[in-house]
């Protein structure tokens, strides 16, 4: 075991796939948040691969109960800490998109409404990976999964993703952010901000599943980075209701480039591709409009990261954050 890996609070030796996006997210999350945390995890790939008895990858206190109850378990942990006079340990939920967007959604909404002091981290790989690649409500339009298969009549998922960031923000949550495993400095900044909130905060991280989306584990970071550059995923924050884009894909790559890297989109016809491209442009315009409404100073640039990078054995290329556009473009006339 190398010195560097010994430093990780999410230890090597877990059974995540080579090139697993979510496993990488966990390394970044734990290393950023530090030792004074309690992890509450929902059932999912990251639970199965991290805590197979008698081993555990967690070097921080960890509890898992069920698929849909992590936010409620976290509320209980937070209440116990409060009752015991502990005002420093941060309770952190880690859950996939299935647990967050779907089965645990009611519990999550309750946790947010109660204002419990919990940082909720969703690693979003856009599908149910643990059960064998089924559709979740985070699965994007057009994607093939084992429950949105491609046949003569139906060709992949026929609806858009649930807008989870906006839904969380609508609860009046002080800090909500969307990040990517491929932009470490940005993710680190967001996790630190979210941790500092006394109350609920939420960070969703694009963490592609190489197995589920169908690409080589060596290009996981590239897929996530290209998604951001193609307007299929955004780096942004909603802080006290104010939107801020952290990376502005003003000159985007065509969506086709990143879609073509993934087997789940191989079947797309021209009309579907056009639909996805149009939708990406629309969501971008919408986000720009919301950021402009915030009437805040322009988003600060994300400098190419020079800080310590997480070690990602399956991804030797170090993720490099591209420079952000200095200002958001003017909103289009309504």
């Amino acid at each position: 075991m190398s010195k560097q890996s010994e430093m990780h609070l999410y230890a090597p030796g877990h059974s995540g796939c080579p090139g697993c996006g979510p496993s990488n997210a966990l390394i970044q999350v734990c290393d950023t948040l530090g030792k004074d945390i309690i992890i509450v995890q929902a059932t999912g790939c990251m639970e199965i691969t991290s805590s197979q008895y008698p081993q555990t990858a967690w070097r921080v206190p960890y509890i898992h109960s069920l698929f849909q109850n992590a936010p409620a378990v976290a509320s209980g942990v937070a209440a116990a800490l409060k009752a015991q006079g502990n005002d420093h340990t941060k309770v952190v939920v880690i859950a996939g998109d299935g647990a967050t967007y779907d089965i645990g959604f009611g519990a999550l909404s309750g946790m947010l409404e109660r204002g419990d002091n919990i940082l909720y981290v969703c690693y979003d790989n856009q599908l149910y990976a643990n059960t064998g690649v089924q559709k979740s409500s985070a699965t994007p339009y057009g994607a093939a999964t084992t429950t949105t298969t491609v046949g003569k009549v139906h060709k992949g998922k026929e609806t858009e993703r649930k807008p989870i960031v906006e839904i969380i923000a609508a609860h009046g949550v002080q800090y909500v952010a969307s990040a990517s495993i491929a932009y470490y400095a940005d993710l680190q900044m967001k996790l630190k901000k979210a941790k500092a909130v006394k109350g609920p905060s939420f960070v969703v991280i694009d963490a592609p599943c190489c197995l589920g989306a169908g690409f080589d584990g060596a290009i996981t970071m590239k897929v996530s980075k290209l998604s951001v550059q193609s307007r299929l995923w955004y780096l942004y924050e909603i802080e006290n209701g104010q939107y801020k884009m952290n990376f502005n894909p003003a000159n985007p790559k065509p969506v086709k480039e990143v879609l073509e890297m993934q087997k789940r989109f191989k079947h797309l016809d021209e009309a579907q591709l056009e639909h996805i491209q149009q939708y990406a442009n629309l969501t971008y315009e919408e986000l720009v409009r919301k950021c402009a409404l915030a009437q805040k100073p322009p988003a600060p640039q994300i400098a190419p990261s020079t800080s310590q990078q997480p070690s990602v054995p399956a991804q030797p290329a170090s993720p490099q954050a591209p420079a952000a556009a200095p200002t958001a473009p003017a909103p289009k006339p309504q």
Binding site: V60, Y62, Q68, G76
Partner: protein, 384 residues
């Protein structure tokens, strides 16, 4: 301290005397008044944390978190609420978390019915929770501290079951042991493997076929071992208050030829009938099955072998025999001359009255029967 209060509220007073640190509640008939009462103790500062969860599923889940983080926990539910907790009930027991829950027994949908029977908690019998059934509110109040005592020593969760409405809404005089008595009885809660950044542990992990059954075997043997602790708690409580408890309670069984066995509040009615029939010279008795999980096979065998037994179930197993009857029969199997009858019904608030109980005792004279209690609906029910 003598109190004349509604069952749910007097149970709330005792629960607060046990000093839970975290309470999580979701309102449901028939335990809403307990939910409210606990909130008052929170508002006045006696209970440090009270989580207003958005569902029963989250109520029990929150307590899983709080208990694992080292706090004493308490909640209440019944009927649909208990069914909704089904999955986390397994999780709480499997994780060995000493949560205590007051169940106000209620019928289950469909049809919708808020009145009493015990289908809700009997259907949770295999979740790994200790189950104690109280026949009146004095027992309910006395059982709460005993539940914490046992739960925290053996590390298993405990359901204290009281019949909805019949007990939760009954106003009667009850002696509530005050905080100082409870403090003498109940040691401070210390969870041995609590979530603590100074000493990280992983709880609720994934176990493959090599290990999974080891955990379940431990659960089974520790549930069995809980019997001794339940008896110990009942005795200690008796020393402090003069009211001793055991796994079962026998009433005039020693020389009885016919005995009715059952859970919950119906047993006080059975005892009244025993007195009436005894006055007429009939050798009858009653046995209150106080602890249903762990099931007291030995005790039942000792008390009931060779007699004519009738088991009241206010729960059913559709397509099978009534659950309590099945287990009492199993406990008595192979004993000489024993005959066990099954009487099931009293569902959804249909009362089991003294004349019904007299009929049961009468039927035991002839031999084993399996039949509904009060099967015919009241005439008014079938019109318009």
């Amino acid at each position: 301290m003598l109190r004349t209060k509604e069952g749910a509220r007097v149970i709330g007073e005792m629960a607060a005397n046990c000093k839970p640190q975290v309470v999580a509640c979701y309102p449901i008939t028939p335990t809403t008044h307990l939910t409210e009462e606990l909130n008052k103790y929170y508002t006045d500062g006696k209970i440090p944390e009270y989580i207003t969860v958005e569902a029963e599923f989250s109520a029990i889940s929150a307590l899983i978190g709080a208990s694992a983080a080292g706090s004493r926990t308490f909640t209440t539910t019944g009927g649909q609420g208990l069914l909704y907790m089904h999955e986390p009930l397994f999780s709480a027991a499997g994780m060995r978390l000493p949560i205590v829950m007051l169940v106000g027994n209620r019928a289950v949908s469909s049809p919708l019915n808020i009145w009493n029977d015990e289908q809700d908690s009997i259907s949770q019998r295999d979740t790994g929770w200790i189950q104690i059934y109280c026949k009146n509110n004095q027992e309910a109040v006395d059982t709460i501290p005993q539940a914490f005592y046992v739960a925290e020593k053996i590390l298993l969760p405990v359901m204290v079951c009281v019949d909805g409405h019949y007990l939760t809404h009954a106003v009667e005089q009850v002696d509530v042991a005050d905080e100082s008595v409870v403090a003498k009885f109940l040691p401070e809660y210390k969870y041995p493997l609590k979530l603590d950044p100074q000493n990280p542990v992983s709880l609720g992990v994934y176990a493959n076929p090599t290990h999974y059954q080891i955990f379940r075997q431990d659960l089974v043997s520790d549930m069995e071992a809980a019997k001794e602790l339940l008896i110990e708690a009942g005795k200690k409580w008796g020393e402090l208050t003069g009211r001793e408890y055991g796994l079962i309670r026998e009433y005039k069984t020693k020389d009885a030829k016919r005995i009715i066995v059952g859970l919950g509040s119906v047993m006080d009615n059975v005892i009244t009938v025993v007195d009436e029939l005894r006055a007429q010279g009939e050798k009858v008795g009653a046995l209150h099955l106080r602890v249903y999980r762990p099931f007291p096979h030995e005790e039942l065998r000792k008390a009931l072998a060779g007699k004519q037994i009738g088991v009241i179930d206010r729960d059913i197993s559709i397509g099978g025999s009534a659950p309590v009857y099945v287990e009492v029969s199993e406990a008595l199997s192979g004993t000489k001359g024993t005959k066990v009858s099954s009487f099931y019904g009293g569902l959804g608030g249909r009362g089991i009255k003294r004349n019904h109980i007299k009929e049961m005792f009468e039927k035991l004279k002839k031999g084993p029967v399996k039949e509904w209690i009060a099967k015919e609906a009241p005439k008014a029910a079938m019109s318009g």
